[in-house]
Symmetry: C2
DNA sequence: TCCAAAAATGCAACTCTGTTGCACGGTGTT
DNA sequence: AACACCGTGCAACAGAGTTGCATTTTTGGA
């Protein structure tokens, strides 16, 4: 029932959740590298959440994660996402639905640099939110004495799959 | 303690809340006109909420209203805002704080027409959100087969009063 | 290898926003 | 005056997000 993945030399990770797709040893090693590169300790849950984010090409909510990892706790997933955001692995997206979404950052993303921010699209039909990393937010001109720090731009409509 | 405002010929509205600033007869008549123009029946609460929105030049949340009208119920204020939004008197703003804000629409606003949408600014210092009706959202170019319907653009930073 | 410290996890409880059901009471219409 | 309708207030609830604390797991040093 419970799978065991061996990571590194002496690290053994027990994955108790039977409904979780367990990637290959090679994939897990790659994900482990990603975590370590961003100074995040590669625990079982973190590897699985990271794998989940890689397989999805849409932004996911905490509840999405919760429904996909029934054996894990909402709090753990919450803190996992928080850790990922703080370590610049994923970015939080406010798509206007009232529920925060999360998606992997670009390879070369410096979450601090604001000029890199891209547009997000939310489909009113399939309710999915996706990143448009090729579409940067245009310059916004503000009245005198307004100092911009961040910009959030969300387009809602019909996505390519639903149109 | 309780003020009474006479509206129209036979309409008497008792205002029980002592901490509410009660505008002049002329102002109330003007507000009444605004409501009637938008097909909203001018009740006491609606007039006071509308007056409140006029005096504020920032977007307000439901909780803001609740704290300003202690004698009224959250539900009533909630439904008042809902009525105002549906009748195109105010628009709801998602400023990324997780709390919906509301502000009066422009005089000539057709809430249906999306090309009129303006930029909103949220100050990270004073935590206030304001409309920038003169600053329209620039055209956003999307990948093929993406059909835009609405655009939300929020700039966060330091406002003119805080800079 | 073993043990203690540190970190991660799971459980429970809680806050806050938004929302709905329902009963009451005032309004205006005939 | 009778009646239907609408607005209001109270209660209860849902959902997302968050925190405290006990338990488990991992790490790193003896
Ligand atoms: Mn994104
Ligand atoms: Mn506005
Ligand atoms: Zn879609
Ligand atoms: Zn400010």
């Amino acid at each position: 029932m419970a799978a065991i993945i061996v990571l590194g030399n002496s690290k053994r990770i027990r994955l108790g959740s039977p409904n979780v797709f367990i990637g290959s040893f090679v994939l897990m090693k790659a994900l482990e590298k990603v975590l370590e590169r961003n100074k995040v300790r590669p625990t079982a849950m973190r590897l699985l959440v990271l794998q989940y984010l890689f397989t999805k090409n849409v932004a996911v909510s905490l509840t999405d994660l919760e429904n996909s990892f029934e054996k894990s706790d909402r709090t753990t997933l919450y803190r996992t996402l928080k850790t990922f955001v703080e370590s610049c692995l994923v970015h939080k997206i406010d798509d206007g639905t009232g529920v925060s979404k999360y998606a992997l950052c670009e390879e070369n993303c410096n979450c601090e640099i604001e000029t890199d921010l891209h547009v997000h699209f939310h489909c009113n039909l399939c309710k999915q939110t996706i990143c448009l990393p090729k579409h940067k937010i245009p310059a916004i001109y503000l009245p005198k004495a307004f100092l911009p720090q961040e910009v959030n731009l969300v387009v809602k409509g019909t996505c390519n799959k639903c149109s």
